[in-house]
């Protein structure tokens, strides 16, 4: 099948392409290499396009969104992180931090490419496009939460370097504090927006798909709580003037809560919202 050949080729090519992108961003950040600075964003755009093509081919070939196994989800997460970063880079006009973010994409895609298995036989429920939309939005949301935590960490690193009068590589190479704060906020906004869509898609689809649907499902409650937390954070930033170091610390704590809740909920709580 044409689709299958394309899938195989892209499955091999994607980790290589991500490695090339990370390398280009690294050369630009650490060595100020002119060609790397000039071409890195274009390379990222190309990789994102190829990755989208890969995900579409998988969807068409196996007749379900590629979110039915952990290794498929890792690939979607890698894509989500890359595209979220690309949007942040464009919005903030700051291109220095790609190395730190895209390394995560590379790692996730590498794991996916090495271990993914093509799953033709999946529960019917996983073939629903509402399901695909719900999961994709959720994954982009969590990817954006991860990126906001990375920017929060970079902010704190630079903040402490400046406060401590240390003027090394971190001081010289990272974007300034206000830019890092803005990039963190853009990531949080994307996270909140995508979680909103994920929750809405879930609310529309879940009652139709599951007879034993319950709004008290632990995963639903966890996601709603996270959505609420980030919503409060956005309001606090816009209206309450919560800025600077405090909000960076809060964004890292919120990421920790997201990670913790998803892990604990998946490990210890079962409900209708479990597909594996």
């Amino acid at each position: 099948m044409r689709h299958t050949i394309g899938i195989v080729i892209l499955n091999i090519a994607l980790p290589v392409l991500y490695f090339a992108v990370v390398w280009a961003y690294g050369k630009a950040f650490f060595s100020d290499t002119p060609w790397a600075k000039q071409w890195k964003s274009l390379l990222l755009t190309a990789v994102v396009v190829f990755h989208l093509l890969y995900l579409l081919l998988r969807t068409l070939a196996f007749e379900h969104p590629p979110v039915t196994t952990i290794f498929e989800i890792l690939s979607v997460l890698a894509f989500a992180i890359a595209i979220t970063y690309a949007v942040i880079e464009r919005q903030s006009k700051s291109k220095e931090t790609g190395y730190f973010i895209l390394m995560i994409s590379f790692f996730f895609q590498l794991c996916s490419s090495l271990f993914v298995r093509d799953s033709l036989d999946v529960p019917q429920i996983l073939r629903s496009y509402w399901f695909g939309l719900h999961i994709t939005c959720a994954l982009i949301g969590y990817a954006a939460i991860t990126i906001s935590a990375v920017y929060g960490s970079l902010y704190l690193m630079l903040y402490h370097e400046i406060k401590a009068n240390r003027f090394g590589v971190i001081y010289k190479k990272l974007p300034n504090l206000e830019t890092l704060e803005r990039m963190n906020f853009i990531a949080i906004t994307i996270a909140f927006s995508c979680l909103t869509f994920a929750i809405l898609a879930g609310f529309i689809w879940l009652p139709r798909a599951f007879a034993n649907f319950s709004y008290a499902d632990p995963k639903l409650l966890g996601t709603a709580a996270l959505w609420f937390l980030y919503g409060i954070g956005i309001l606090a930033r816009l209206k309450g003037g919560l800025r600077g170091r405090t909000i960076m610390v809060l964004s890292i704590i919120a990421f920790g809560i997201a990670l913790f809740s998803m892990t604990i909920i998946n490990l210890f709580f079962s409900g209708f919202h479990r597909f594996s």
Partner: protein
């Protein structure tokens, strides 16, 4: 290379003399034709507060250095009694190397400072307009632009702030994204405050507010940097709107106390405040530096930053010196190629290569018995073509030096005998 550099610098003359011998753009324009009339063929002059240098070439043997020194001294000081040791002279390849060291900032008071580069370009442009630049100095200065660009692009010799005011503004740019949206308050009119205000203004700060116990001093600084003044008594009222405060007052007590800073922090709703304390003793309560969204720097910290930057620059010296030596070698090779014999040989080789390449492509069309005749015929054609410029170059041996060099240079350029070497490298 028949080039000489005569000049004074911070290494050879005191500031007072350097200031007296400073040439403005109009002075340079006026002086160049008269300098050339001293028996020189080409001349370029540039001048700043720290350095005045004149580069000359001469048709007739060595340039008349004493005449040139006397001219420079008389032109600006009206007397020829300027101490001889105040002037330095470098000749030949050393003059070329010196120019490249100047253009890359290695001869500046602080290594890597290329503020001189603007004066170099201006002096060269004026010389060009005045018609005192020939192809020798044109080549020399083109190589100087290339050395400057290489040093800037490939090393960090010019990176990092080298003054307290630059360091302060550099720090501000590590904290704030866009200074054109920020407001700065200058308290006092000390030298560091003035320089910092100028740096902020150069970066397009949204507004500069100046205040001083002496209203006149505040007005003077405001007019210098395009700022506005406010009464010193209203200082605290200004604080909530301000993003950057530079304090430089003579005061035994803190001008901004911990109470002031806490109140500012509350009113700013978490927005970052950047404080520079140039006072000795401190104008700002050091407690301010402990607040979360406040960054406070004093002179000691900024000086340490500058010292570290200068030390970092020095680590790039060997790389830049290697670049300069390579460029000088290239210049010497080029100069040597201006002799006619190597050029005639190169032209003959080029013609022979073209002849043999073309014959090799088409010889198969001819019968074997005709091929020798074809070879001899084409050899005679190319020999006659080469003979014409070769005769001109050979007979030019008797003519004045620059014309012969110009002829050789023209032939080399027209026939691409120096292909692979840039004649006009990219410059700033």
């Amino acid at each position: 290379m028949n080039t000489v550099c005569v000049g004074i610098s911070h290494q050879t003359a005191p500031a007072e003399l350097r200031t007296r011998l400073r040439f403005s753009a109009d002075d340079i324009r006026s002086a160049l034709p008269r300098i050339r009339a001293l028996g020189l063929s080409e001349c370029v002059l540039f001048s700043t507060d720290h350095r005045t240098e004149l580069y000359v070439t001469s048709d007739e043997g060595s340039p008349p250095i004493d005449s040139v020194v006397n001219f420079l001294a008389m032109e600006k000081t009206g007397e020829a009694s300027v101490p001889a040791k105040s002037f330095f002279t470098v000749k030949g390849t050393e003059a070329a190397e010196h120019l490249l060291r100047v253009s890359t900032g290695l001869e500046s008071m602080i290594v890597g400072d290329t503020e001189i580069f603007g004066a170099l370009k201006e002096g060269f442009a004026i010389a060009r307009e005045s018609g005192t630049v020939g192809f020798l100095l044109d080549r020399l200065f083109t190589v100087a632009w290339r050395a400057h660009k290489l040093a800037k692009d490939q090393t960090l010799i010019s990176e990092g702030a080298i003054s307290v005011s630059e360091a302060a503004v550099e720090l501000a740019q590590r904290i704030f994204d866009d200074l054109t949206e920020k407001r700065a308050l200058i308290v006092g009119a000390g030298e560091t405050a003035q320089l910092t205000a100028k740096q902020l203004q150069a970066r397009g700060i949204r507004s500069l507010i100046i205040t001083h116990r002496n209203a006149e001093r505040a007005e003077n600084l405001a007019s210098l940097v395009g700022g506005v003044t406010v009464a010193f008594e209203t200082l605290r009222e200004q604080l909530p709107k301000i993003d950057i405060i530079v304090a430089s007052l003579q005061s035994e007590l803190h001008v901004l106390t911990s109470k002031d800073i806490r109140e500012i922090e509350k009113s700013r709703h978490g927005r970052t405040l950047f404080l520079i304390d140039c006072g000795v003793p401190h104008n700002i309560d050091p407690f301010a530096g402990e607040l979360e969204n406040v960054f406070l720097y004093d002179l000691d910290t900024l000086n340490a930053m500058v010292s570290e930057n200068i030390a970092q620059r020095r680590t790039h010296l060997p790389a830049v010196e290697t670049m300069i030596l390579d460029e000088v070698k290239g210049l010497v090779t080029w100069y040597a190629s201006l002799e006619s014999s190597p050029t005639i040989e190169a032209l003959k080789l080029l013609m022979e290569k073209i002849r043999t390449d073309e014959i090799a492509k088409e010889i198969h069309r001819f019968k074997p018995q005709d091929r020798k005749a074809i070879d001899e015929l084409t050899k005679r054609i190319t020999d006659r073509i080469v003979q014409i410029p070769a005769e001109h170059l050979k007979t030019g041996r008797e003519s004045r030096l620059p014309n012969r060099h110009q002829s050789v240079n023209l032939v080399r350029r027209l026939f691409g005998l120096d292909a692979g070497e840039k004649d006009t490298p990219d410059t700033d």
